[in-house]
């Protein structure tokens, strides 16, 4: 048996994945259910010559991570809902400065303080739209401890390749859960480094925001002699203020998006289960996809033709994949179980168009979705009791307001 066989939590796997991917700087602020990531990083980073700092708040920690990344170091930050809200402005800063970094959000349930240790997927739309000004973003969602490791490596790689912050949208189930994992020899991992200037400092004109056909500008590090600006204001290719130049402004925002969307195949990761003859397809991501797959297996035993599309990449959204499913002649409905009041379902609906009904299976009490509850919804669908329009009201609300 390999000595790399370990029993570890999703949070530990994220930290180990980060170290393996070359992350050498972490700044954070304690918050459940993400704190373990900071604790492991504080122990592991100095062992490999990296640096850890616990900052005074979440705003400071993401700002420090941005600063570290600008010196050429792979850098990461981890938090949960309240901290994710605080980081919003500086997440946009990372987008604008085109600073590679990974921000992990181990999601917990509810607005404000909510319930600190219980899982949810309530921040997936915030991941997309949570900072102002029409930004671009990549977000990934792991469904197991092992995948938490691999998607962290992937997140670091994507952030470097595209000079962009990448969000790893974990949740309290994945973060706390312990599973048996077999970690690879880090030397076998394919690691990506940010594109670099093609000439040494002083040997040509370096344009920190001038991109070739990849749309990703080469990135110098502070201290190398290039004397460049990382500028949060609209800027031209030199990094100079372009706040009075609307064409430059328009081009920059286009490029920030296009550098990701034009490379969709390199970013998009989905998995399909039992889709070929499926009548009902579940769209799921993160921890919920485990219940969804269990539901598929149980349904198949009962002769129900259930399939699953699992999105590992949440943003950009897997619209083409959903559309293809919606157009399959057998498919009667798509159902979207989520640990929230129905967020990604709006994207699924938009991608599916008028081809099939898209039914939300919202779940937001801080527990996981059981396969049985998904199967019950499918049963109701076949009996004509569950449509897109069905109002799904929680038990207590029925007792208090509708009886």
């Amino acid at each position: 048996m390999s000595s790399n066989l370990k029993l570890m939590s999703g949070n530990e796997a994220v930290a180990e994945g980060a170290i393996a991917a070359g992350v050498r700087f972490f700044a954070g602020y304690p918050i459940s259910p993400s704190t373990e990531i900071a604790e492991v990083m504080s122990r592991r980073l100095p062992e490999v010559g990296g640096k850890f700092i616990q900052m005074e708040d979440e705003i400071a920690s993401i700002a420090a991570v941005i600063g570290a990344s600008l010196t050429g170091v792979k850098a990461m930050d981890a938090t949960s809902g309240p901290g994710f809200s605080l980081k919003a402005e500086n997440l946009g800063l990372a987008v604008m400065l085109e600073t590679p970094l990974v921000l992990v959000n181990v999601q917990r349930v509810g607005p404000s303080t909510g319930i600190a240790t219980l899982p949810a997927q309530g921040d997936v739309m915030m991941a997309r739209w949570g900072t102002h000004g029409d930004h671009s973003i990549i977000a990934l969602a792991p469904w197991s401890v092992e995948e938490a490791y691999y998607l962290t490596v992937k997140a670091v790689n994507l952030s470097e390749q595209f000079r962009t912050p990448v969000l790893l949208m974990s949740d309290a189930i994945i973060g706390y859960m312990k599973e048996r994992v077999i970690l690879p020899d880090p030397a076998t991992l394919e690691l990506v480094e940010r594109p670099r200037p093609r000439f040494a400092a002083g040997e040509g004109e370096y344009l920190p925001y001038g991109a070739d056909s990849t749309l990703v500008p080469p990135m110098a590090a502070y201290g190398e002699g290039y004397h460049w600006y990382a500028n949060s204001s609209y800027h031209d290719q030199h990094g100079f203020e372009a706040t009075a130049n609307n064409r430059e402004a328009e081009y920059l925002l286009w490029r920030l998006h296009a550098k990701i969307t034009e490379h969709r195949p390199e970013v998009m990761m989905t998995e399909s289960y039992e889709l070929d003859d499926a009548e009902i397809v579940l769209f799921a991501y993160g921890s919920v996809a485990r219940s969804a797959l269990a539901a598929v297996r149980q349904a198949r035993q009962q002769g129900i033709k259930l399939g699953l599309l699992r999105a590992q990449t949440l943003w950009p959204f897997a619209d083409l994949e959903v559309k293809a499913i919606a157009q399959m002649p057998n498919v009667k409905a798509i159902m979207v179980p989520e640990l929230n009041m129905g967020q990604m379902v709006t994207e699924v609906r938009a991608a599916a168009g008028a081809h099939v009904p898209v039914i939300s299976l919202p779940h937001y009490d801080g527990t996981m979705i059981k396969p049985a509850s998904i199967l019950a919804s499918i049963d109701r669908f076949y009996r004509g009791e569950l449509t897109e329009e069905t109002r799904q009201i929680p038990e207590l609300a029925i007792a208090r307001h509708y009886s």
Binding site: A63, A64, I66, G67, A201, Y222, G223
Partner: protein, 309 residues
């Protein structure tokens, strides 16, 4: 001061200024230009390489300094310059990180980062450009606005008392603290040089005229008159130390106020790295012994295990 003559040469301008960026975004007569010049002179005085200096700014009129100076530069979010600078310094301790900030940037939205950086004593140089108001947004009060001063958000007079920023920094643990004004250029260059050379968190507060938004409501809309006001109201710390509070009156104390050595963050962290690596080497050695013992046990085990049922 030879440095000042030196800067007036074309060569100095060419080296340190970004002429491409030079359609000045500052109002004519603004103190920030003078302060930018003093930063460059301090760098030149210290004989620093241009490659090792990073200018980190937040948002505000003072946050535009990066646009004109020929170093690596950072223009981030309002109030967070010190937090970003902390990441830069930790990730590459060889860099000299200079952080010009406005009084709002530093003491209001960035106030917590300011005192925490001072407490950590991380080797950064904060230059706080105190124009006693929010310049960029047009003259609202800041945490450094004097009692009863007039602002667009306090037209009847400001009811709060300001921080004494230098005392705040000293109390929070900054190991170098000084104050100057946009009038006292020679002193400012010296203090900047000392601050940048100092191994720890250093703060220089510079009183600087915003005649356009602050002066016109409070003293004078003429830049030179405000500069003369600074000249008359600055009191050197050496003289002040021999005077009573009453004698000092409404004058502000300039010069070097704190200069002490405290453990510095990045140097302390090097020790953590050494300790962590020693710990993991020990752990690995222990694991190796265990592994060898296990192997040995395996080899010396009898062939038929579990005979006892």
């Amino acid at each position: 001061m030879p440095a000042i003559e030196m800067l007036q040469t074309e060569e100095m301008k060419k080296r340190y200024l970004r002429t491409e960026g030079l359609n000045s975004l500052w109002c004519p007569g603004c103190g920030i230009g003078t302060i930018s010049g003093a930063i460059v002179r301090a760098v030149e005085n210290l004989g620093l390489s241009q490659d090792e200096v990073v200018i980190v700014t937040g948002i505000g009129c003072s946050g535009l300094i990066y646009n004109y100076l020929n170093f690596d530069g950072f223009h981030g979010t309002h109030g967070r310059a010190l937090a970003a600078a902390t990441g830069i310094k930790i990730a590459n301790p060889k860099l000299k990180v200079i952080i010009p900030m406005g009084d709002g940037d530093c003491a209001a939205i960035g106030g917590n980062h300011f005192i925490q950086a001072a407490r950590r004593n991380i080797d950064l140089t904060a230059i706080v450009i105190n124009n006693q108001t929010y310049g960029m947004t047009g003259g609202q009060y800041s945490p450094l606005s004097p009692h009863d001063s007039k602002h667009t958000t306090a037209t009847l007079g400001h009811i709060e008392e300001p921080f004494d920023l230098c005392r705040l920094a000293a109390g929070a643990g900054a190991s170098y603290v000084a104050r100057s004004t946009a009038f006292h250029v020679h002193q400012m260059v010296d203090l900047f040089s000392n601050a940048i050379a100092h191994p720890g968190f250093s703060v220089v507060e510079v009183m600087s005229q915003c005649h356009v938004h602050y002066g016109k409501r409070n003293y004078s809309e003429v830049a030179s008159e405000m500069l003369f006001w600074y000249k008359d109201h600055a009191l050197n710390v050496n003289r002040a130390s021999k005077m009573s509070e009453e004698e000092i009156g409404d004058r502000f104390i300039t010069g070097e106020l704190v200069n002490r050595i405290r453990p510095e963050w990045t140097a302390e962290y090097e020790k953590i790295i050494a300790k962590a690596q020693a710990r993991s080497a020990e752990e690995k050695a222990r694991q190796d012994v265990l592994h060898r013992e296990k192997e040995f046990d395996k080899q010396s085990q009898p062939e038929h295990q579990g005979d006892e049922g």
